[in-house]
Symmetry: C2
């Protein structure tokens, strides 16, 4: 309760207690007039009390609304940062998944070597690009010969051989500039090393890829390129 | 303002306005007694108004405190998530830094090849382990011969040749189990592929390494291993 409210209460109490003294000074007025004046003064002060209390409550209501708005704002920020953390937490393990987890495995048999590329490809296709199928093709750029090819399909999807030719792929990446290339309705990403005579191509159906996911696809293709050289 | 407060105000106003009528019914009492009764009743109702207003303001104050506590709680959560995002944002670019950014560079001359390993080593030493110096040593495990060695020192730190021998390193990692090994006051991490006859060792001074940073050091050593095979 504010100081001013307390003062007004005090004045009203004093007025009521000392009313007989005021009455003595107002004795020249007839009794009904005197009573009316006292009633009007008390009503006026009561209105003042009512007004002050209303203002104090309104002040607190406004403060409450401001706090509630701040909570809504913080909630939104927290929700945004949790969404971001969720996305990031999916990507963080990739650092280990695409390197250590593959290097630690036995890679002596053909099947074990194939497993490395299947792992890289399935991550690219199902987790990052989120498409139905994908291929990793290693091409000798001088001759246009396919050295290795690995494919991956989601569920029971039957992969028909793509019509995309090695010549088209090599030609399209001669002047390597942007990362996501397109021929007809096929997307592809190629390894970053444009000087090495073997290049890896990740081929998948046309789909919109966000910039940061494209960066990860590029990392997967580059890891495939490194592992190819490491294993063959 | 609550309904009950408004009713109490109404009763007080009615009492004041209709006071002359009550006085008529109390005419058997002497005037001073009558005035005192009216004053006591008005004071009682005033106290009731004071009490109700105080309660309403206190109710809002408690609601404000609850909201303020919620804000403190949300602020703390937001601060925690920003700290986490800060840590993660330092690690996220590593995925690209340790693969694409290195593969895209020219790597034809000896100097350019050395640059790749200097990049990997400086990330490990200054950003992750946060120590004064570090070495990447490639050892042929059959013969114990050093094939390549790269060193990195922070600022003007002069690196004295470490006393750690290849024999000790190879011996310590024969039964490859845990990632961080120690010989005397030297830490080292070795590449995950225990079957390949060339192994990479990251050697640095003894320091406490957190589990997730150790994972990143492991990734850096494994990338060095892949790049060694790719470039030599």
């Amino acid at each position: 309760m504010s100081k001013i409210s307390k003062i007004v209460y005090g004045i009203l109490i004093l007025l009521l207690v000392f009313k007989p003294h005021f009455s003595a000074h107002l004795s020249f007025l007839p009794k009904p007039y005197e009573d009316s004046i006292v009633t009007v003064v008390i009503l006026g002060i009561l209105y003042l009390i009512y007004f002050l209390n209303k203002r104090e409550i309104e002040k607190r209501e406004i403060e409450k609304i401001n706090l509630a708005c701040k909570i809504i704002d913080l909630d939104a920020k927290l929700s945004d940062s949790f969404t971001y953390i969720g996305q990031v937490n999916l990507k963080l393990p990739l650092l280990k998944n695409l390197t250590t987890d593959l290097l630690i495995k036995n890679k002596s048999t053909i099947k074990e070597k194939k497993e490395v590329f299947n792992n890289l490809l399935s991550t690219a296709v199902s987790s990052i690009a989120q498409v139905d199928w994908g291929m990793l093709r290693f091409i000798e750029t001088d001759t246009g010969r396919t050295l290795k090819e690995y494919d991956f399909t989601v569920k029971d999807y039957i992969l028909l051989k793509t019509q995309i030719s090695n010549k088209d792929l090599v030609e399209a990446t001669k002047d390597w500039d942007k990362k996501l290339k397109k021929i007809k309705n096929i997307n592809f990403v190629t390894s970053s090393d444009s000087n090495f005579n073997i290049r890896c191509y990740l081929i998948f159906p046309e789909v919109k890829i966000e910039e940061n996911n494209l960066e990860i696809l590029q990392v997967i293709v580059d890891q495939s390129q490194l592992f190819y050289r490491y294993l063959y």
